[in-house]
Each structure stands twice: as structure tokens, then as C-alpha cells.
């Protein structure tokens, strides 16, 4: 079954336009690997980018521009793909059927080798620490466990990779994306039967709102 909960048009547009920060783009791109519908949608949005580029006013090139380019045509092609400016942890050689590219390339040696920290039925790993205005986490929630009730100062984007969870807005399984904005106060509960593995990106720290949550809040940043 293919995903039923997709990223909103605004997220797909920002992905096609290339205006998202890497953590958000990682969630969208990993969803694309699991969702033929959104792959199609992004293909259309890139076609739109081409159309808008054609309609773009021209900015005259420097006088020698063409000449310089022609002089370089016989140079050897640069390595392909072009070296990313920041190396990923490791390009994984192993295929993990649960974790598709591009996320797999951010995980190094695979799920089991990650530096998981555990707290009350929840295990997590921080990813992309180089983007401090986001919290990018891989989370494993024990089957049947309820997360603390929380709301957000910013938005939260969650992609399910295995298992599933439910909250007030619906039931989410592999490939589904849940979007929560500051108005959402929710308590996700993992499905019984299988641990729920998901990739979550928040662009501001969560605020815990349940009675225990409020108490824990200064100490615990889930």
C-alpha cells in the first residue's frame, strides 16, 4: 500500500524549488522514495520551475562569458556526482529495506549501529546537529506506547518508516507524513504489535503540556 498522508503542496513546492533547509528536505525526499504519487507531483513542480525559468527576465552575461565556457569544453568532466560541500556520515553500501535513500546515507552503518538513547519506551538518535535551528531525530517508540502530550512552538514533521501511530489527526503508517503546527496539541500512540520507527523534524523545541510533561519540561527535551 502506498502512503495516504502526504506532505502539503507548500512542502513539495519548497522541495522542488530547493528553498528548504536540509532537515526538512530530508523528510520530504525520504517520503518521495516511498510515494510514487508525490514523485510524480515533484516532477510536475520541476517542470513548473523550468517554465518559470523560461519566463524569467534575462540578465546579460559578462562579455567573455561564452568564450570562457567554450575554452573549458575540452577539460575533463568533473567527478560525478559533484562532491557535496559537506560529506555525509557515510554513503551506506548495505541495502536496508526499511530505510530508503536518501535517509540511509545519513545513518552511516545502519540502524543498529546508531547511538540510541532510551527513555521510557522511546529511543532516539539526533541527526544533522549542524542544523541547530532544527531538531532532527530518528525515534523508535515501543509498540503500544503513548508519547507525552505536547504542543509545538514551531512545526513538526514526522515520517513513519515502520510500524505506525495514531493521534487526533489520524492513523499514520509507513511512508505517511504527519504535519503538526503550533495549534496542535497531541498525544501520539504507537500501534500495538510493532515498534514505530519514524523520522521527526521540529523547527522549535516541543512544549510538553500534560501534567507530567509540564513538570518534566525543564529537564526533558524529547
Amino acid at each position: 500500500m502506498t502512503p495516504q498522508h502526504h506532505p502539503g503542496d507548500d512542502l513539495l513546492i519548497a522541495y522542488a524549488a530547493g528553498s528548504q533547509d536540509e532537515p526538512v528536505a530530508l523528510v520530504v525526499a525520504t517520503h518521495l522514495a516511498l510515494c510514487p504519487r508525490c514523485r510524480k507531483e515533484v516532477e510536475r513542480l520541476e517542470a513548473l520551475g523550468g517554465v518559470l525559468l523560461e519566463e524569467q527576465e534575462a540578465e546579460p552575461l559578462a562579455e567573455k562569458s561564452l568564450e570562457q565556457a567554450l575554452a573549458r569544453l575540452d577539460e575533463a568532466a568533473p567527478d560525478e556526482p559533484a562532491q557535496p560541500s559537506r560529506q555525509l556520515a557515510r554513503r551506506s553500501a548495505e541495502v536496508d529495506p526499511v530505510v530508503p535513500r536518501p535517509l540511509r546515507d545519513y545513518l552511516g552503518d545502519g540502524l543498529d549501529q546508531l547511538d540510541w538513547t532510551a527513555f521510557r519506551g522511546l529511543e532516539k538518535v539526533e541527526l544533522l546537529p549542524e542544523f541547530p535551528s532544527f531538531r532532527t531525530r530518528l525515534m523508535r517508540i515501543k509498540s503500544g506506547t503513548a508519547m507525552p502530550t505536547h504542543t509545538h512552538d514551531g512545526s513538526e514533521l514526522t515520517l513513519v518508516l515502520a510500524g505506525g501511530f495514531s493521534d487526533e489527526s489520524g492513523h499514520f503508517v509507513r511512508g505517511d507524513v504527519a504535519e503538526a503546527d503550533p495549534s496542535v496539541n497531541h498525544q501520539p500512540v504507537a500501534d500495538p504489535g510493532e515498534d514505530c520507527l519514524c523520522l521527526a523534524v521540529t523547527d522549535a523545541p516541543l512544549r510538553l503540556t500534560g501534567p507530567f510533561g509540564r513538570l518534566l519540561n525543564p529537564f526533558l527535551r524529547i
Binding site: 522514495a33 510514487p36 514523485r39 523550468g50 523560461e54 546579460p60 552575461l61 560525478e80 530508503p100 535513500r101
Partner: protein, 223 residues
């Protein structure tokens, strides 16, 4: 903006324009007014045909035409994204050399040349101006989920799709069109755009959604 297109055409292109406009332009509204690179190449060869010549014969003359047609637009795109004049020039060189080196990878059944150039320029910009990686799917990844009838595999007529999109963009309400261009050309998050336009973020998102609904409807007859 429209007259600017004509006056800012770099000289080599302006000279050859006489030959180029000979072909009747059976296009719609906006497209009649704005001469897109695709149309300008029409009389001799489409950008896609020029690209085939580059891929199959390493045809330098065809490359020169593509450079003249798209270089100035790629430069304008990069400058709107925050590149200064000098780095925009450097990146145009990179983008057009990438076109030359990867010519065989261009598949005109999947995309128009302008779409392909857009994606190359976008990725070079993220790499160079943002110093970030662009997470992308790997079409060869065995973990990639496909459907037997994978919509991503359907063959579309890329040129036809582009024509429909030109027409549909021209018919969008002006505030939606403006927003769409901002979203594509300014390297800003939607919340920053909302702030600058003094609009609630929800309004920005719903306008983009409305625009997409209309563009989708315009493509439906096609796919």
C-alpha cells in the same frame, strides 16, 4: 518586464532573432507576449533538438545557442537567489559546462531542456551558495517503493506539459502567480515570504495550494 525581455537579449541572440520569429507562434495569451527561449529557438531547432545535437555529435554551435538562450536566464535566477554578479557568472559557467558534460543524461521524454537546466542550476546553487546537501531519491535504490502502475513512470509529453503550464500560470490570479515566482526564485522559507508580504503564513500556504490546484487541473487533460 515584457519589454525588458526584448531589450535585454544579449547581442548574438538579438541578431539571429529575425530568423527566429519567422515561425508562427501558435501559443496562448502570456506566451504570445513573452518570448520564451523555447519559442525563440523554434525556427531553427528547439532547445531539445539542440541538446540532442550536443549529446550525439558534441555539436559546439548547438551548445553556443543553448548558452546564449539560457545563460542569461540562469544568471538572473542565481542573482535573485542571492548570488552576487561575479559568483552568478561563475555558476552559469558551471551549470552550462554540466549541461555539456552530462548531455547524454538528458532525456527529452522526461523533461524539457528548461526543466533540466532548472534542476541543475537549483542543485548547484544549494551546493555552492548554501553549502548544503540536497537529499534526493536514488531511482536505482531497491528500497524505493514502486507501484505496478507507477505514476512516476508514466510517459508524458514534456513539451506539451510545458505549454499547458505556461498557459495555466498566465491565467492564475496575480497574487497567486506572484507568490509562486517568489517561492521558486527567492531562497526564502514560506514563513519569511509571509513576513515580508505582511500576510499570515496560512494565507501564503493556501494561495500556493490554490495555485497548484489550478495548475493540476490544467495538466489533467494531458496525463
Amino acid at each position: 518586464m515584457l519589454s525588458a525581455v526584448a531589450t535585454e537579449i544579449p547581442m548574438p541572440l538579438a541578431k539571429s532573432k529575425v530568423a527566429l520569429v519567422a515561425r508562427p507562434a501558435p501559443r496562448v495569451q502570456r506566451v504570445m507576449r513573452i518570448e520564451t527561449p523555447a519559442q525563440k529557438t523554434g525556427a531553427e531547432a528547439s532547445a531539445e533538438e539542440l541538446m540532442s545535437a550536443v549529446a550525439e555529435r558534441r555539436d559546439r554551435a548547438a551548445f553556443v545557442r543553448l548558452f546564449e538562450l539560457f545563460g542569461p536566464r540562469v544568471k538572473a535566477y542565481l542573482m535573485r537567489q542571492g548570488a552576487d554578479r561575479a559568483s552568478a557568472e561563475d555558476l552559469v559557467q558551471d551549470v552550462m559546462l554540466t549541461v555539456w558534460h552530462r548531455a547524454v543524461q538528458f532525456d527529452r521524454n522526461k523533461a524539457t531542456f528548461s526543466t533540466w537546466v532548472f534542476t541543475i542550476a537549483r542543485n548547484r546553487r544549494i551546493d555552492s551558495l548554501r553549502r548544503a546537501n540536497r537529499p534526493e531519491i536514488d531511482p536505482e535504490d531497491p528500497a524505493l517503493v514502486r507501484e505496478p502502475d507507477d505514476p512516476a513512470d508514466q510517459v508524458v509529453d514534456a513539451a506539451e506539459r510545458s505549454k499547458h503550464l505556461h498557459a495555466a500560470v498566465a491565467q492564475l490570479p496575480v497574487e497567486q502567480e506572484r507568490l509562486l515566482r517568489l517561492a521558486y526564485f527567492e531562497d526564502k522559507s514560506h514563513s519569511v515570504i509571509a513576513e515580508e508580504l505582511a500576510l499570515p503564513l496560512g494565507t501564503v500556504k493556501s494561495r500556493l495550494r490554490l495555485a497548484m490546484t489550478k495548475l493540476r487541473a490544467a495538466l489533467e487533460t494531458l496525463e
